[in-house]
Protein backbone atom coordinates (compact mmCIF):
# COMPACT_ATOMS: atom_id res chain seq x y z
CA UNK A 1 0.00 0.00 0.00
CA UNK A 2 1.65 3.13 -1.21
CA UNK A 3 -1.04 5.73 -1.67
CA UNK A 4 -3.73 6.68 0.79
CA UNK A 5 -6.63 9.00 0.04
CA UNK A 6 -8.24 10.87 2.92
CA UNK A 7 -11.63 12.42 2.20
CA UNK A 8 -11.74 15.56 4.28
CA UNK A 9 -14.60 17.96 4.65
CA UNK A 10 -12.20 20.65 5.77
CA UNK A 11 -13.56 20.60 9.30
CA UNK A 12 -12.14 19.35 12.56
CA UNK A 13 -14.22 16.16 12.48
CA UNK A 14 -11.65 14.46 10.29
CA UNK A 15 -8.68 15.16 12.56
CA UNK A 16 -8.79 11.77 14.21
CA UNK A 17 -8.90 10.06 10.83
CA UNK A 18 -5.95 12.16 9.67
CA UNK A 19 -3.94 11.20 12.73
CA UNK A 20 -4.76 7.54 12.27
CA UNK A 21 -3.90 7.70 8.60
CA UNK A 22 -0.64 9.43 9.39
CA UNK A 23 0.40 6.67 11.76
CA UNK A 24 -0.54 3.97 9.27
CA UNK A 25 1.14 5.73 6.38
CA UNK A 26 4.29 6.34 8.38
CA UNK A 27 4.37 2.67 9.34
CA UNK A 28 4.04 1.35 5.80
CA UNK A 29 5.87 4.17 4.04
CA UNK A 30 2.85 5.40 2.11
CA UNK A 31 2.02 8.86 0.87
CA UNK A 32 -1.24 10.59 1.67
CA UNK A 33 -3.51 12.77 -0.41
CA UNK A 34 -6.02 14.97 1.36
CA UNK A 35 -9.03 15.33 -0.91
CA UNK A 36 -11.58 18.05 -0.30
CA UNK A 37 -14.66 18.13 -2.50
CA UNK A 38 -16.25 21.51 -2.29
CA UNK A 39 -19.74 22.55 -3.19
CA UNK A 40 -20.26 24.99 -6.01
CA UNK A 41 -21.38 28.32 -4.61
CA UNK A 42 -23.46 30.87 -6.50
CA UNK A 43 -21.77 32.65 -9.40
CA UNK A 44 -21.26 35.86 -7.41
CA UNK A 45 -18.69 33.94 -5.38
CA UNK A 46 -16.65 33.03 -8.45
CA UNK A 47 -13.56 34.59 -6.90
CA UNK A 48 -13.98 32.35 -3.90
CA UNK A 49 -14.18 29.33 -6.18
CA UNK A 50 -11.00 30.35 -7.95
CA UNK A 51 -9.29 30.78 -4.59
CA UNK A 52 -10.34 27.34 -3.46
CA UNK A 53 -9.36 25.72 -6.73
CA UNK A 54 -5.88 27.21 -6.40
CA UNK A 55 -4.62 24.83 -3.73
CA UNK A 56 -1.48 26.79 -3.01
CA UNK A 57 -3.39 30.01 -2.42
CA UNK A 58 -5.99 28.15 -0.44
CA UNK A 59 -3.41 26.65 1.89
CA UNK A 60 -1.84 30.06 2.40
CA UNK A 61 -5.16 31.73 3.10
CA UNK A 62 -6.64 32.29 6.52
CA UNK A 63 -10.00 30.85 5.61
CA UNK A 64 -11.30 28.09 7.85
CA UNK A 65 -10.88 25.57 5.07
CA UNK A 66 -7.36 26.78 4.30
CA UNK A 67 -6.30 26.70 7.93
CA UNK A 68 -7.75 23.24 8.54
CA UNK A 69 -6.24 21.72 5.40
CA UNK A 70 -2.91 23.35 6.15
CA UNK A 71 -2.95 22.01 9.69
CA UNK A 72 -3.86 18.52 8.52
CA UNK A 73 -1.07 18.60 5.93
CA UNK A 74 1.45 19.79 8.50
CA UNK A 75 0.36 17.15 11.00
CA UNK A 76 0.97 14.43 8.44
CA UNK A 77 4.29 15.86 7.37
CA UNK A 78 5.42 15.97 10.99
CA UNK A 79 4.98 12.21 10.98
CA UNK A 80 7.25 12.02 7.94
CA UNK A 81 4.42 11.28 5.53
CA UNK A 82 4.58 12.93 2.08
CA UNK A 83 1.28 14.75 1.74
CA UNK A 84 -0.59 16.40 -1.11
CA UNK A 85 -3.80 18.36 -1.02
CA UNK A 86 -6.27 18.01 -3.86
CA UNK A 87 -9.44 20.02 -4.23
CA UNK A 88 -12.28 18.94 -6.46
CA UNK A 89 -15.55 20.50 -7.34
CA UNK A 90 -18.83 18.74 -6.56
CA UNK A 91 -22.14 20.02 -7.86
CA UNK A 92 -24.60 19.71 -5.03
CA UNK A 93 -27.88 19.84 -6.90
CA UNK A 94 -26.94 18.01 -10.06
CA UNK A 95 -28.64 14.82 -9.04
CA UNK A 96 -31.53 16.44 -7.23
CA UNK A 97 -33.87 14.24 -5.27
CA UNK A 98 -33.97 10.53 -5.89
Amino acid sequence: MKRFLVCTGGKEFIEEAVQLTGKLAAAVGASVTLLHVMAEPPAIYADLVRLEEDVTRLLESNSELGINLRTQKQDLEKLGVPTEVHVRHGIVCRSGFR
Binding site: C7, S95, R98
Partner: protein, 179 residues
Protein backbone atom coordinates in the same frame (compact mmCIF):
# COMPACT_ATOMS: atom_id res chain seq x y z
CA UNK B 1 -32.16 11.93 -0.94
CA UNK B 2 -30.20 15.08 -1.53
CA UNK B 3 -27.52 14.84 -4.10
CA UNK B 4 -24.45 13.55 -2.46
CA UNK B 5 -23.69 11.46 -5.51
CA UNK B 6 -21.64 14.13 -7.17
CA UNK B 7 -19.36 14.34 -4.15
CA UNK B 8 -18.88 10.60 -4.17
CA UNK B 9 -18.31 10.72 -7.92
CA UNK B 10 -15.53 13.19 -7.33
CA UNK B 11 -13.95 10.93 -4.73
CA UNK B 12 -13.98 7.96 -7.09
CA UNK B 13 -12.76 10.08 -9.98
CA UNK B 14 -9.77 10.95 -7.82
CA UNK B 15 -9.28 7.29 -6.90
CA UNK B 16 -9.36 6.20 -10.54
CA UNK B 17 -7.04 8.99 -11.57
CA UNK B 18 -4.26 8.27 -9.09
CA UNK B 19 -4.76 4.60 -8.29
CA UNK B 20 -5.03 4.81 -4.52
CA UNK B 21 -4.62 1.77 -2.30
CA UNK B 22 -6.75 2.93 0.61
CA UNK B 23 -9.57 5.42 1.11
CA UNK B 24 -9.83 6.94 4.57
CA UNK B 25 -12.95 8.74 5.66
CA UNK B 26 -14.55 9.84 8.90
CA UNK B 27 -17.83 8.43 10.10
CA UNK B 28 -21.01 10.29 9.27
CA UNK B 29 -21.85 13.23 11.49
CA UNK B 30 -25.54 12.72 10.87
CA UNK B 31 -27.39 11.30 13.84
CA UNK B 32 -30.93 10.04 13.58
CA UNK B 33 -33.03 8.97 10.62
CA UNK B 34 -34.18 12.46 9.69
CA UNK B 35 -30.71 13.90 9.63
CA UNK B 36 -29.49 10.91 7.67
CA UNK B 37 -32.29 11.47 5.19
CA UNK B 38 -31.49 15.15 4.82
CA UNK B 39 -27.73 15.03 4.94
CA UNK B 40 -27.17 11.65 3.34
CA UNK B 41 -24.26 9.49 4.30
CA UNK B 42 -21.18 9.94 2.19
CA UNK B 43 -19.27 7.39 4.21
CA UNK B 44 -21.82 4.67 3.50
CA UNK B 45 -21.82 5.48 -0.19
CA UNK B 46 -18.05 5.36 -0.35
CA UNK B 47 -18.10 2.03 1.50
CA UNK B 48 -20.69 0.57 -0.86
CA UNK B 49 -19.06 1.68 -4.07
CA UNK B 50 -15.33 1.52 -3.44
CA UNK B 51 -13.18 -0.99 -5.26
CA UNK B 52 -10.33 -0.64 -2.82
CA UNK B 53 -10.06 -0.95 0.97
CA UNK B 54 -11.87 1.74 2.95
CA UNK B 55 -10.90 2.77 6.45
CA UNK B 56 -13.57 4.58 8.46
CA UNK B 57 -12.27 6.49 11.44
CA UNK B 58 -14.81 7.23 14.09
CA UNK B 59 -15.27 10.99 14.23
CA UNK B 60 -16.23 12.37 17.61
CA UNK B 61 -18.47 10.69 20.16
CA UNK B 62 -15.55 8.84 21.68
CA UNK B 63 -15.66 8.22 25.39
CA UNK B 64 -12.72 9.95 26.90
CA UNK B 65 -11.55 12.32 29.55
CA UNK B 66 -13.40 15.38 30.70
CA UNK B 67 -11.94 18.53 32.03
CA UNK B 68 -13.59 19.44 35.27
CA UNK B 69 -14.79 17.27 38.05
CA UNK B 70 -17.03 18.46 40.84
CA UNK B 71 -16.33 16.68 44.03
CA UNK B 72 -18.44 16.09 47.05
CA UNK B 73 -17.89 13.89 50.02
CA UNK B 74 -20.69 11.87 51.55
CA UNK B 75 -19.37 10.22 54.64
CA UNK B 76 -17.09 7.38 53.78
CA UNK B 77 -17.85 7.60 50.10
CA UNK B 78 -16.12 9.97 47.80
CA UNK B 79 -17.94 11.04 44.71
CA UNK B 80 -16.73 12.62 41.56
CA UNK B 81 -19.13 14.36 39.26
CA UNK B 82 -17.66 14.93 35.86
CA UNK B 83 -18.74 18.11 34.16
CA UNK B 84 -18.65 17.82 30.41
CA UNK B 85 -19.45 14.74 28.46
CA UNK B 86 -15.93 13.55 27.81
CA UNK B 87 -17.05 12.54 24.38
CA UNK B 88 -14.68 14.56 22.28
CA UNK B 89 -11.79 15.15 24.59
CA UNK B 90 -10.43 18.21 26.24
CA UNK B 91 -10.51 20.93 23.67
CA UNK B 92 -14.06 20.47 22.48
CA UNK B 93 -15.39 20.16 26.00
CA UNK B 94 -13.49 23.22 27.09
CA UNK B 95 -15.31 25.23 24.48
CA UNK B 96 -18.73 23.71 24.90
CA UNK B 97 -19.34 21.37 27.81
CA UNK B 98 -22.32 19.13 27.24
CA UNK B 99 -24.01 19.15 30.58
CA UNK B 100 -26.75 16.77 29.62
CA UNK B 101 -24.42 13.83 29.81
CA UNK B 102 -22.60 13.81 33.06
CA UNK B 103 -20.82 10.61 33.89
CA UNK B 104 -21.01 9.98 37.58
CA UNK B 105 -18.28 8.27 39.45
CA UNK B 106 -18.24 7.33 43.06
CA UNK B 107 -15.74 5.25 44.90
CA UNK B 108 -15.90 3.03 47.90
CA UNK B 109 -13.44 3.13 50.76
CA UNK B 110 -10.26 4.29 49.12
CA UNK B 111 -7.95 2.22 51.21
CA UNK B 112 -9.73 -1.08 51.08
CA UNK B 113 -8.27 -4.03 49.22
CA UNK B 114 -10.57 -3.50 46.29
CA UNK B 115 -12.61 -0.48 45.43
CA UNK B 116 -15.64 -0.13 43.27
CA UNK B 117 -16.20 2.72 40.89
CA UNK B 118 -19.73 3.48 39.94
CA UNK B 119 -20.22 5.17 36.64
CA UNK B 120 -23.45 6.28 35.13
CA UNK B 121 -24.23 8.59 32.28
CA UNK B 122 -27.07 10.88 31.28
CA UNK B 123 -27.66 12.37 34.67
CA UNK B 124 -27.88 15.92 35.85
CA UNK B 125 -26.84 17.24 39.25
CA UNK B 126 -30.50 17.45 40.31
CA UNK B 127 -30.97 13.79 39.64
CA UNK B 128 -28.12 12.55 41.74
CA UNK B 129 -29.18 9.49 43.63
CA UNK B 130 -31.95 8.53 41.23
CA UNK B 131 -29.95 7.48 38.22
CA UNK B 132 -29.06 3.97 37.13
CA UNK B 133 -25.52 3.02 37.88
CA UNK B 134 -23.16 0.46 36.62
CA UNK B 135 -20.36 -0.59 38.85
CA UNK B 136 -16.83 -1.25 37.81
CA UNK B 137 -14.86 -3.07 40.44
CA UNK B 138 -11.13 -2.86 40.32
CA UNK B 139 -8.57 -4.38 42.59
CA UNK B 140 -5.91 -2.20 44.12
CA UNK B 141 -3.26 -4.09 42.20
CA UNK B 142 -5.07 -3.69 38.89
CA UNK B 143 -5.57 0.00 39.48
CA UNK B 144 -1.92 0.40 40.42
CA UNK B 145 -2.41 1.27 44.07
CA UNK B 146 0.99 0.63 45.49
CA UNK B 147 0.43 2.13 48.91
CA UNK B 148 -2.29 3.46 51.14
CA UNK B 149 -3.45 6.98 50.54
CA UNK B 150 -3.06 9.49 53.31
CA UNK B 151 -6.07 11.48 52.20
CA UNK B 152 -9.02 10.77 50.01
CA UNK B 153 -7.98 13.60 47.72
CA UNK B 154 -4.83 11.63 46.93
CA UNK B 155 -7.01 8.73 45.99
CA UNK B 156 -9.17 10.95 43.79
CA UNK B 157 -6.10 12.32 42.06
CA UNK B 158 -4.86 8.83 41.48
CA UNK B 159 -8.17 7.59 40.11
CA UNK B 160 -8.59 10.62 37.90
CA UNK B 161 -5.08 10.35 36.55
CA UNK B 162 -5.42 6.62 36.02
CA UNK B 163 -8.81 6.51 34.39
CA UNK B 164 -9.04 9.93 32.84
CA UNK B 165 -5.45 10.22 31.71
CA UNK B 166 -4.80 13.60 33.18
CA UNK B 167 -1.66 14.45 35.00
CA UNK B 168 -2.30 17.57 37.01
CA UNK B 169 -5.39 17.72 39.16
CA UNK B 170 -6.26 20.54 41.53
CA UNK B 171 -8.79 20.00 44.28
CA UNK B 172 -10.17 23.06 45.92
CA UNK B 173 -13.44 23.88 47.64
CA UNK B 174 -15.06 20.65 46.63
CA UNK B 175 -14.16 20.95 42.96
CA UNK B 176 -11.62 18.96 41.11
CA UNK B 177 -10.07 20.73 38.16
CA UNK B 178 -8.05 18.67 35.75
CA UNK B 179 -5.48 20.64 33.88
Amino acid sequence: MFATESFVDQVFAEVRKSNYDLIVTGSSQARGMLRHYIMGDLTLRILNHANCPVLVARAGAVAGPSRVLAFRSTGLRSQLLILGSGRRGDLADRRRPRRRELPFLSTSDYNSRSCSIEISRRITPRRLGSHPRRTLSVSRRLAGFDSAFAHKNDFIRHIAAKFFRHRKIDIERGEVAIV
